[in-house]
């Protein structure tokens, strides 16, 4: 019972914070300053974090009432429409707990970080209100035990994401990006919604536990359809190809938002959903293949784009895409636990990296172009070191978090026979290391390209920003060690075992124990090796001034390689232009779609309405024509009458003769 209350507190406090701040924050800020306005939302999130930690600890510890399979609490009957009954309720198990940890921790840190980051913005209250709304939505998403409630949360995170991306509403690009994010997400949501309908129509319930328990009753095509439709939603939220286009644009939002939503939490929702629905996917192997394929394709696609981007946040955004691709690949190959492991690890280190980038941007006065940075490592040391830690982690250098999770994914892919997935993943690992250190090189090392007027003003961020960086660096370093060890019986496996056990058993690919030796060892060596190669290549081209080791950047060599031949030229252009997806979408939806809409409107006015008006005009025309008969001359009238008489006589004769 106390846990029930705690569980309730977790999402409710942010909601209350949102409601209060949305209604009164403006006045409060005007009267008592921005700290007063942000105190409540931050406090709400902190308390929520505490509660979540307690709950998570209990759930992971399998304390009563959670046990192995988690604990459900019902709230109220949301929709009572005949057979269609939706009970709003929460369910907490190990998977939920893992997500709770990531969401509340990063969420809280981002809130704190934002105090400093948003200290110059007049809309602080609004920002915190939105953040709280997001926290509520995300927590609802992970807690909900009904697919429709999940869908609610799904859309609500979309809404908060929309609000936060478009936070600087005066910026046209921000407004466009927010709209794009929402709409692209909705594309995925359509699939998800249809999936939910199919679930209901097939099983008559939407309760997650019931559905997962009874999914086996259905026939194969239906399950596959459900799985693919649900994955459709997941792909939208987690920005998988071809719905990945919104995420890079979403970087128009304030950087804490990017860290929280577009790196650490919301974009993981898709991964969470698929993991949550693992029995469905477990029964639909063909859908799993699709998931794996899309995931790994996104991974390499995004990585290839990240190669050439110059906006620091965009590089990170593509990196996020790429890592999410990894996670889906993991889900697809049946590496469920590894996917969640990577989710958590990525949440922390990517959150860290984004906050770092925010700190950098802050330092160089809202400049995001890496070509106008360089040599910052001395000026903003805390940021620099934490970024370095994050980069090493994402590159998969042991013993940082990324190493454990990523290597586990690759290994599982290899061992489960998805060799292509492994091969691509392997390449992407190297690419990841390369573009991350390209980022490091351009930003922190090498000569400074900071605009001269800003140069003297570059400064380290205030403690409210740096403290979260340091805090986040801790799990980035130690998470892997804690959760990923000991090999063969790691903590994360122990935690999540009940969640995935049945699916794994059914799929025939039990998650093999990971060990340091044999094939596993070889794979570890290989991936660490490729990561190192990636780092070295980046080092070679983009210069390093680390611990006295100096190496000048060589942009001319980059250009030379890019222009080397048609193939490289094409690849370079493709990377630079993000494989022209924006152009394609622009063509399809703005130009062609716009034409269609305009044509429809024309049709509406000219044909549909034209018919209506035409009938009116016809009546008028007939009337005007017929009134000509009225000549005003009485003999004409008489003639008409006489004609009428003759016609009448004729008619009667015909009628009578017909008798």
């Amino acid at each position: 019972m106390p846990y029930d209350l705690l569980i309730l507190i977790v999402p409710t406090l942010p909601l209350a914070g949102f409601a209060f701040t949305a209604l009164f924050g403006r006045r409060l800020q005007a009267r008592s300053g921005r700290n007063a306005a942000s105190a409540l939302p931050i406090g709400a999130v902190v308390v929520s974090w505490v509660a979540a930690m307690v709950v998570a600890a209990a759930a992971l510890g399998r304390a009563e009432p959670f046990g192995e399979h988690g604990h459900s609490i019902g709230l109220w009957q949301w929709i009572p429409a005949g057979k269609f009954v939706v009970e709003a309720g929460f369910h907490v198990d190990a998977l939920t707990a893992c997500l709770l940890i990531v969401v509340t921790t990063i969420g809280m840190l981002v809130h704190i970080y934002s105090i400093g980051y948003m200290s110059h913005d007049p809309g602080t209250w609004r920002f915190f209100a939105y953040l709280n709304l997001f926290m509520f939505s995300m927590l609802l998403l992970v807690l909900a035990d009904n697919f429709l409630v999940i869908f609610v949360a799904w859309e609500l995170v979309g809404l908060s994401s929309y609000l936060l991306i478009g936070f600087w509403y005066r910026k046209r690009s921000a407004a466009l990006a927010s709209k794009k994010a929402f709409i692209v997400n909705r594309v995925g949501d359509v699939g998800f919604a249809l999936g939910i309908m199919l679930i209901f129509v097939s099983l008559g319930t939407l309760n997650v536990q019931e559905v997962l328990a009874r999914i086996g009753e259905l026939d194969q095509p239906t399950i596959t359809a459900i799985a693919l439709l649900v994955f459709c939603g997941a792909a939208g939220k987690s920005a998988q190809f071809p719905l990945h286009v919104w995420l890079p644009d979403a970087m128009e939002g304030p950087t804490p938002v990017s860290a929280l939503i577009h790196a650490a939490t919301m974009v993981n929702a898709g991964v969470y959903l698929v993991a949550r629905a693992n029995p469905i996917f477990g029964h639909a192997q063909s859908a799993m293949v699709v998931v794996a394929a899309i995931g790994i394709f996104t991974a390499i696609l995004a990585a290839s784009i990240a190669f050439t981007q110059t906006d620091i946040k965009r590089v990170l955004a593509y990196s996020t895409l790429s890592q999410l691709g990894y996670m889906f690949a993991a889900l697809g190959v049946g590496a469920w636990t590894a996917a969640i492991f990577h989710l958590m690890a990525h949440g922390f280190f990517k959150g860290l990296l984004f906050l770092d980038s925010g700190s950098v941007i802050h330092a160089v006065h809202e400049e995001q172009d890496m070509r106008r940075m360089g040599g910052l490592w001395r000026r903003i040391p805390i940021t620099y070191w934490t970024t370095l830690i994050g980069s090493l982690a994402i590159a998969g250098i042991p013993p940082l978090a990324g190493f454990f999770s990523k290597d586990e994914i690759l290994a599982e892919a290899f061992k489960n026979g998805f060799l292509v997935v492994w091969a691509i993943g392997f390449v992407v690992a190297g690419m990841t290391a390369f573009y991350m250190f390209r980022l490091m090189g351009m930003t922190f090392w090498g000569p400074s390209h900071v605009a001269p007027e800003i140069e003297p003003l570059v400064h380290e961020s205030p403690p409210s920003m740096t403290v979260p960086l340091v805090i986040l660096a801790i799990p980035t370093i130690f998470l892997g060690l804690v959760l990923g060890l000991p090999f063969g019986n790691s903590l994360i496996h122990t935690w999540l075992e009940p969640v995935f056990a049945e699916t794994l058993a059914a799929s025939g690919h039990p998650e093999a124990a990971f060990s340091l030796f044999g094939i596993d060892g070889a794979l570890i060596l290989a991936s660490v090796g490729i990561a190192t190669v990636g780092i070295l290549v980046a080092w070679h081209f983009f210069g390093v001034e680390l611990l006295g080791l100096r190496r000048a950047p060589r942009p001319e060599q980059v250009t030379a390689i890019a222009e080397a031949n048609a193939a490289t030229r094409f690849l370079y252009r493709a990377s630079l232009n993000k494989w022209w997806f924006d152009e394609l979408n622009d063509l399809l939806f703005i130009r062609v779609g716009g034409r269609i809409a305009t044509a429809c409107w024309w049709f509406d006015r000219t044909i549909v309405d034209g018919t209506v008006n035409g009938l009116g005009a016809l009546a008028r025309g007939l009337g005007t024509g017929l009134r000509r008969v009225q000549t005003g001359r009485v003999q004409n009238y008489a003639l008409g009458i006489a004609i009428g008489l003759i016609v009448m006589a004729g008619s009667y004769l015909v009628i009578v003769s017909g008798r």
């Binding site: 003999q635 004409n636 004769l653």
Partner: protein, 183 residues
């Protein structure tokens, strides 16, 4: 000298001859009424026409009607019409002023109507007696005042109404002048 029952050579009875003569006169003068230019002559032709009709009524054995025809039509209506003609115009009008532009279609229509009527009359069994019948005046009066009292009274009301209204309309007002509300 006895007049033969039938006209020699032609075989018509005298009555028939009379009928034909009156019929010719009737139609001829009728036509003149509608085709002559001078409207006064038209009026005179109308009197002839009415007279011819009275003759036919006599042949038909309805002398009372013939009398009424002479008295009312020739005595009253025609005179009225002639007065009206005098009042409204003095000289004959040229053809284009006499006839409508639609005179030709009018003629065609009239002919069609006539054809239809003639054919219909010929095709219809009117349930008539072969010989025409004579109606005595006394009998007529009896019927008039037995079965047709109401119509008889109504006619008087009708004439009264027509006269009152007619007088009002035709009466010349002191303050002459155009006044119109344009509808």
């Amino acid at each position: 000298m006895a007049i033969p029952d039938t006209i020699p050579f032609i075989g018509l009875s005298w009555n028939d001859l009379l009928f034909l003569a009156f019929a010719a006169l009737l139609l001829g003068s009728g036509l003149l009424v509608v085709v002559m230019r001078d409207i006064i002559r038209c009026g005179l032709a109308m009197i002839v026409c009415f007279g011819a009709l009275a003759g036919i009524y006599v042949i038909l054995g309805a002398p009372l009607i013939a009398g009424a025809q002479v008295l009312i039509y020739i005595g009253a209506i025609s005179v009225l019409v002639l007065f009206a003609i005098m009042l409204t115009q003095t000289k004959a009008a040229p053809v284009r002023l006499v006839f409508q532009t639609q005179a030709v279609p009018a003629a065609i229509l009239a002919v069609i109507l006539a054809l239809i009527l003639v054919l219909v009359i010929g095709a219809t069994d009117w349930g008539a007696a072969a010989e025409r019948l004579q109606v005595g005046t006394a009998e007529l009066a009896r019927i008039l005042f037995r079965d047709f009292v109401l119509p008889f009274e109504v006619v008087s009301v009708l004439l009264l109404a027509a006269v009152i209204g007619g007088i009002y309309l035709a009466k010349r007002e002191l303050d002459q002048g155009e006044a119109t509300d344009r509808g």
